[in-house]
């Protein structure tokens, strides 16, 4: 039962992120909401690879015959996803900054010269 708590947290984070993306009006807050969804995704992948009582997935450090390692692939995936997430967050915040210079507002309802 308690083993499923991480998935519950993942679910809550996803919902929080989606609500933030849909209902927040400030561009910076939207960028934060995207980061929350990103964190939820990373937590989800890491939790999938976890085996209770497992050691770090490095063969020489696994120790002993009863070696039980967590899966290494999800950790590699997450590392890549974190790097990509960093890049997208930085780019998104810099867009928000330059949009503010042009529009004088960070409200998403004002940033809509392109419509229809």
């Amino acid at each position: 039962m308690t083993g499923n708590f991480p998935y519950l947290v993942v679910g809550i984070l996803f919902v929080m992120g989606f609500i933030g993306i849909i209902f927040e009006k400030n561009l910076v807050k939207i960028a934060i909401a995207v980061s929350v969804v990103e964190a939820a995704t990373n937590l989800f992948i890491i939790t999938l690879g976890y085996r209770s009582g497992g050691s770090i997935p490095v063969w020489t450090m696994a120790g002993g015959g009863s070696s039980r390692m967590v899966l290494p692939t999800p950790q590699a995936l997450t590392l890549t996803a974190i790097v990509i997430g960093l890049a997208t967050t930085a780019l998104m915040l810099s867009f928000a900054m330059t949009i503010y210079r042009h529009y004088g507002s960070l409200d998403v309802r004002d940033v809509r010269r392109l419509q229809g």
Binding site: F18, I21, I22, F23, E24, K25, L27, I30, V108, R109, V111, R112, R113, L114, Q115, G116
Partner: protein, 112 residues
């Protein structure tokens, strides 16, 4: 290389179309060459007819702008277009909202 594409119901033959356009072009040329060549150049016969008004100097004053194209069509379908344009709000969070909504709908359809 020169044969037709069969679609299972009909066929497509591009060379038949090209010969059709060649024949049609020849006929257009023929009809055009029947026109009168004996008009007086430089006289009033050579002028643009603009509702017997003087033709404006700048083309800006006699061109039809793009927003007038299909005026009747958009006017007749105004209720439809009001809904459709209203739907493209231009708000970034709406774009993401539509994406999440469609994902949720499709997930409901397939999982239930």
């Amino acid at each position: 290389m020169w044969d037709q594409i069969l679609t299972g119901f009909g066929y497509w033959d591009v060379y038949a179309w090209i010969s059709f356009f060649l024949v049609a072009g020849g006929m257009v040329y023929l009809i055009r060459s029947l026109g009168r060549k004996d008009y007086k150049q430089g006289s009033d016969q050579d002028e643009i007819f603009f509702g017997s008004n003087p033709v404006p100097e700048d083309g800006e004053d006699l061109k039809v702008p793009a927003s007038s194209a299909y005026w009747g069509y958009t006017q007749a379908l105004k209720p439809f277009y009001d809904v459709l344009v209203g739907f493209h709000t231009g708000v970034a969070t709406d774009y993401a909202g539509w994406y999440i909504l469609v994902t949720a709908l499709v997930a409901l359809l397939i999982l239930l």
